[in-house]
């Protein structure tokens, strides 16, 4: 007797919780007729359970994305596995107002939905359950976080003077490229260059003229990049470019083209015309390199070789130059 009362009680408790829980529960048959519609759904949709039970879900809610949602429900019946819909796919499945109509920022409720296969006693899938979660707060804060992060990320990645990547971010990218190339045995090449006799420019025309030359060099560089190349300002007047999927010989063409372009530039500053040149070093990633630092050293030593051989030229790194 006691046992029976307990069972009845606990069923009632379950039912109470099911009614007051802040999660939507809908159960549909294969033909999309609604079998269960809990209080969350009643309150948010304004449609009572009498009005929807045994009716076709899509007739009762014509604004539902029907072809899409039908496909999701069908796949639960066919595959007999749970299926998840995230707010990132569709901000909402049911068009409900947000819970904070006055103080909130979102007009509609962002939803995650889980679809669950429900079985009869013989194990066949006869119904599908839709569990609707309100994720408005999470979604709103993630969207805000994303835009804030994008701004921060952009600020901390770019060099102010040149708008190229700054050294920190560029080196991180080089590290990633180093690991990627090693793993996939792809060939990538690093090009480094610096402005010849830059100290003279500064000393003769002043620091502002020097900045102008650096800006000119980076603009010329940016105009000659492919979409996949990653260029950064490595030091004061030193620049570096990662050329992915590129061999040293191809990279040399790039280097020479850039060198000639820069040779033909005229920088006008305070009524004077300044001409300048650059020296370049080219280093293909080789299997002996253990880390991205060694890759930089290789390109740097080729650059040194160019300087040594008279400047305004490009050299490819070979082992003996080290």
């Amino acid at each position: 007797m006691q046992e029976q009362t307990d069972t009845i009680n606990s069923l009632e408790w379950l039912f109470d919780i099911f009614r007051s829980i802040d999660v939507g529960v809908v159960i549909v048959e294969k033909d999309y007729s609604v079998k269960t519609w809990n209080s969350f759904m009643v309150n948010h949709s304004g449609v009572s359970s009498q009005d929807v039970i045994n009716k076709n879900l899509f007739n009762a809610f014509p604004e539902l994305p029907d072809a899409w949602l039908k496909r999701k429900i069908d796949s639960v019946f066919m595959l007999n596995t749970r299926s998840f819909i995230t707010w990132e796919q569709h901000p909402y499945v049911f068009k409900f107002r947000s819970y904070r109509p006055i103080t909130g920022t979102a007009e509609y409720m962002f939803q995650n939905v889980t679809l669950i296969p429900l079985h009869s006693t013989d194990g066949a899938v006869t119904h599908a359950g839709l569990v609707v979660y309100d994720v408005t707060d999470v979604a709103v804060s993630q969207i805000k976080l994303k835009s804030a992060n994008q701004l921060l990320g952009k600020l901390s990645r770019t060099d102010k003077l040149t708008q190229l990547y700054n050294r920190g971010y560029w080196e991180e990218s080089l590290d990633i490229e180093f690991e990627r190339s090693k793993r996939s045995s792809q060939i990538s090449t690093l090009v480094m260059f610096d402005i010849d006799h830059f100290k003279n420019v500064n000393d003769t025309y002043g620091h502002q003229a020097g900045d102008e030359v650096i800006r000119n060099a980076s603009r010329t560089l940016l105009n000659n990049l492919r979409k996949t190349d990653v260029a950064g300002r490595y030091g004061g007047e030193e620049f570096a470019i990662i050329l992915t999927n590129t061999e040293a010989h191809t990279a040399l063409y790039f280097a020479e083209r850039l060198r000639k372009k820069i040779e033909s530039q005229i920088v006008a500053h305070d009524g004077v015309e300044i001409r300048y040149t650059i020296s370049l070093g080219v280093a293909e990633l080789s299997p002996e390199m253990d880390n991205h630092q060694q890759w930089i050293e290789a390109a740097d030593s080729a650059l040194y070789e160019s300087k040594h051989a008279g400047r305004n030229r490009s050299e490819i790194y070979s082992k003996k130059t080290l």
Partner: protein, 329 residues
């Protein structure tokens, strides 16, 4: 007369499971082969009038063995025992001359049915000598994984209407540092999309990570009969469909075999609003290493491939070990 029976499987765990599923009162002599080449040698020596053959093995696989049996005209009857439950796999082995197909994990009842059906089993007074098999726990993990992978591949094949090549899974302990390297690579590469989903229950917890190469989207969309240009929204749709199938089916098959119940969190799409880096955050630092299952799925004749990575926390390992060892008694 004693019938020589050969069991060929690369997994010691699966060999043991198969040997245990054979009827006791049967006059047979059981031998074991750990790979395709060894299997052919033993067949040539007459050790397998009846052969239970696994399909997915490194080196010479089950398909290769069937082919060689036919070419060399070896006298044996072959019953294929595999976790690859795609109807297409079934048809392929039958076309290669296999007599029957038994799904893994093998059950005593099913094996008996098949043996009866072909009149192979005659109850005898002789109780055959149980063969002892040394079992490695890693083989156990691999076997449970194989079965789960097969179920997932079958669902995927049904949805796509295309044969899915069963991968050989890699199972090992990985360092958190290595995992972070993988993550860094995914992030540095905008041609990769990923979904991450957590699960927990019965003392076992972990995360599933599905990594999908964007170049696969077009072929995937055409198989799913999705029309129009494949923009970001449709890519996300495909990614979620794929993760629902692969992660869902895989975990379900694991939980059924190990008899544990678990809850699944909602999937997180990486790289859209959350970076993996942010997602891993501090939590990843709590663990030194993790038990990782890596599988690369490839769709036959299409430019589609994706990697499924299942990571179990360090403290789940005792529970996992327990459940896997109890499967073979």
């Amino acid at each position: 007369m004693t019938t020589p029976v050969l069991i060929c499987d690369d997994s010691s765990f699966a060999r043991k499971q198969m040997a245990r599923a054979l009827p006791e009162k049967w006059d047979i002599k059981v031998s074991l082969a750990g790979g395709g080449e060894e299997c052919l040698e033993m067949l040539a020596q007459g050790k397998g009038e009846l052969l239970f053959l696994d399909l997915n093995m490194p080196g010479l696989d089950g398909y290769g063995v069937l082919q060689a049996i036919r070419e060399r005209d070896l006298p044996t009857m072959v019953i294929v025992v595999s976790g690859d439950v795609q109807p297409e796999a079934h048809q392929r082995v039958k076309a290669l001359g296999a007599m029957e197909f038994i799904k893994k994990p093998v059950s005593i009842e099913h094996v008996q049915d098949v043996l009866n059906q072909y009149g192979l089993y005659l109850e005898s007074d002789v109780i055959h000598q149980r063969i002892s098999v040394e079992v490695d726990i890693w083989d156990g993990y691999r076997e449970v994984t194989n079965v789960a992978m097969g179920r997932a591949a079958d669902l995927l094949a049904r949805v796509l209407g295309n044969f899915v090549k069963m991968p050989i899974p890699h199972i090992n302990m990985i360092d958190m540092v290595d995992l972070q390297m993988v993550v860094k690579e995914v992030e540095g590469n905008d041609t990769i999309s990923a979904v991450c989903q957590g699960f927990i229950g019965s003392g076992i917890a972990g995360e599933a990570l599905l990594i999908f190469k964007e170049q696969s989207f077009d072929d995937m969309a055409s198989l799913m009969k999705m029309e129009g240009e494949i923009g970001e929204a449709k890519q996300l749709e495909l990614l979620m469909d794929l993760s629902n199938i692969l992660i869902g089916a895989f975990l379900k098959a694991i939980s059924e075999q190990l008899e544990f119940d678990f809850s699944m969190g909602h999937p997180n799409v990486l790289g859209r609003h959350l970076s993996m880096h942010e997602l891993m955050g501090e939590a990843a630092k709590k663990w030194n290493s993790s038990l990782a299952i890596e599988m690369g799925y490839v769709i036959e004749n299409k430019n589609i491939s994706c990697d499924l990575l299942i990571l179990f926390t360090e403290d789940s390992i005792p529970a996992l070990e327990n459940r896997v060892s109890s499967m073979i008694g």
